[in-house]
């Protein structure tokens, strides 16, 4: 079966797996992992892009066909996120930006309110904005209004590998929000990525699990397969998610017992 492409801001992607580039022990592992998972969108923190050390510059390890999504890591409020995004654009890294506004260095939970503000400003300036949030229906609706290109709810604490602790809340966003839902943060194993895709998420982003694996490219490949498998399962009309599916012994069949079948 052929799947429709993932479309973000009018751009089509075959891969539904996004890779984060932090925490890798060397650039070769990173580069091999991008190849192995076939990601077409990778995130890079602007704060980690070193312009001058060419041999180490992370951008040199990202293939040209891959869309660069700079993130605003380090921003503590909307204003700082906006400044970082503008600086990224001015530095020539394009206008796709993942808004990360984190004002809590202990849990690294995103500030939804400030994220909405930054999204509003940057969308109006022509940025393609992919905001990272704690899954919350009202925040997601506000982001739609603010002009976001996707909504990226967290599965669990960033870097925790705990999987879909916020599953029910993410399901609400999948059901109610008409933008691509990209599940981000906390995805620690391919099975968890598959689970998110089975629920109907449009894409999954992972980083820590892969970057800190013994063999990052191998796990990257496994993630890509799991995302595909989860997607196919979703498209198949997985029985477990069809709560209104036909029960094998209907509870209300008795109502029609006297009506002869034709």
């Amino acid at each position: 079966m052929t799947d429709a492409p993932l479309v973000i801001a009018g751009k089509s992607f075959t891969s539904r797996f996004l890779l984060g580039t932090g925490k890798f022990k060397n650039k070769k592992d990173l580069s091999d992992s991008i190849t192995a998972c076939g990601s077409e969108i990778v995130t890079v923190a602007l704060r980690r892009i070193d312009l001058e050390r060419h041999e180490e510059n992370i951008l040199g390890f990202i293939p040209p066909h891959v869309t660069l999504l700079t993130n605003t890591s380090g921003a503590r409020n909307a204003q700082e996120a906006v400044r970082i995004a503008r600086l990224a654009k001015a530095s020539g890294y394009g206008h796709w930006v993942k808004i990360e506004v984190i004002n809590d260095s202990k849990y690294l939970l995103p500030d939804n309110h400030e994220t909405i503000k930054a999204t509003e400003i940057l969308s109006a300036e022509g940025f393609v904005v992919l905001p990272y949030i704690s899954p919350d229906l009202y925040a997601a609706r506000a982001l739609v209004k603010a002009g976001a290109a996707t909504v990226m709810p967290l599965g669990s604490f960033i870097g925790s590998n705990q999987g879909l602790k916020t599953k029910e809340l993410i399901q609400v966003l999948i059901n109610e929000i008409d933008l691509p839902i990209v599940v981000d943060a906390g995805i620690g194993a391919p099975s968890q990525a598959a689970e998110a895709m089975e629920m109907g998420a449009d894409a999954v982003l992972a980083n820590t699990a892969i970057a800190t694996a013994q063999n990052p490219p191998l796990l990257a490949h496994a993630f890509a397969l799991a995302v595909k498998a989860g997607r196919l399962a979703y498209l198949s009309g997985l029985p477990l998610q069809r709560s209104i599916a036909k029960a094998s012994s209907p509870l209300t069949g008795f109502l029609y017992d006297d009506i002869p079948a034709n």
């Binding site: 925490k23 022990k25 602007l46 070193d50 050390r53 204003q79 970057a211």
Partner: protein, 339 residues
């Protein structure tokens, strides 16, 4: 949070198994939080004028050393040297002298440093919030201020005169810096000054209070151990290597996201092993003398402490790569600072 007694029990447990278990758990947590990355920074000593008398420090006011304060043309040369080595995060240090290195001096140094560096931090005398606000606006992102010891009686014994004598003003300094908008704040204790369990317990409390008051700040901690200066014994350290490992591991377990700095004071061998356990930041190519990089010949230098690890930045980078670490030079991209 752990009680003092729990910390004391852990530090005093002599069993190799206990330290190994602690180290393993800390190593795992560090990898998950930070991956195999180590941020590098370069220290730059701007001045050794000091009005405080701290018995353990080579810069203290009573010590007969050559007092130097670098003027802009000279520290620019030092900055160019550090920059040429690849360093992009700088920590500028001075002795504690409001008179010789006032706010205006530090602001000018910051403006010049911002031509070369993306991340700028200061380790200088404590100031008031409005002064920190001015520094933040000028481009300072981080402040390091160590309490040295949280044992008030011991604090009074080793801080004999000068501004540093005021325990409470120093204790409240990180709050003022955070209030002013600083992104990074570094705390520390000088191991060997007092009972390490007591100091560690109090440091954790300090850190916890700060996290609650200013959750957006990235905190880091340092655990310098007492060192001799030019071979003169100023104090004796009493934290052994196993205890030192436990202090780092315990800090990681209790504060998974907090940065842990390692200075050049430690021997290369220990330093290399500690990288695996919990360290996230280290200085490289350090010189702890004013003008030590380009201006003064070594025989004329009066360092704040003697360096045990004298490897160059390139050597450190090679070592990190050999041990499968990614050395991080750029950890921040300077943006306009305002609240």
């Amino acid at each position: 949070m752990m009680t003092f007694q729990q910390i004391e029990n852990i530090l005093n447990d002599k069993s190799p198994k206990a330290v190994e278990e602690l180290a393993r758990e800390a190593a795992q947590l560090t990898r998950r939080q930070f991956g195999r990355t180590i941020s590098l920074y370069g220290p730059l000593y701007l001045s050794n004028f000091c009005s405080s008398h701290c018995t353990y420090c080579g810069f203290h006011s009573q010590n007969k050393i050559q007092r130097i304060k670098l003027e802009p043309a000279l520290y620019r040369k030092e900055m160019q040297f550090i920059h040429a080595q690849g360093i992009r995060n700088i920590l500028m240090l001075t002795g504690e002298s409001y008179k010789h290195t006032p706010l205006s001096y530090l602001k000018e140094a910051t403006l010049i440093a911002s031509e070369y560096f993306q991340g700028i931090a200061l380790e200088v005398h404590p100031m008031e919030t409005p002064e920190y606000k001015e520094l933040f606006a000028a481009g300072v992102d981080g402040i390091a201020v160590y309490q040295e010891t949280y044992d008030r009686a011991r604090y009074a014994q080793v801080h004999l005169s000068g501004y540093k004598k005021d325990y409470d003003f120093r204790y409240a300094t990180p709050y003022r810096a955070a209030e002013a908008g600083m992104r990074q704040i570094s705390l520390g204790i000088l191991l060997g000054l007092s009972n390490p369990s007591q100091d560690l317990f109090a440091l954790y409390q300090h850190l916890r209070e700060l996290e609650k008051s200013f959750p957006g700040v990235e905190y880091s901690v340092s655990f310098p151990r007492l060192r001799t200066v030019k071979s003169a014994t100023l104090a004796s350290g009493d934290v052994d290597d196993a205890q030192f490992v436990k202090i780092i591991a315990l800090t990681r377990l209790l504060f998974p996201r907090v940065g842990i700095n390692l200075s050049t004071r430690e021997e290369p061998k220990l330093r290399d092993h500690l990288l695996e356990i919990g360290i996230t930041r280290m200085s490289a190519g350090s010189n702890t003398s004013v003008g030590g990089y380009t201006l003064l010949e070594e025989k004329y230098q009066d360092p704040q402490f003697d360096i045990k690890d004298e490897r160059s930045v390139d050597e450190i980078v090679k070592l990190l790569k050999a041990k499968s670490f990614d050395p991080v030079f750029t950890d921040w991209r300077h943006i306009e600072n305002s609240l």
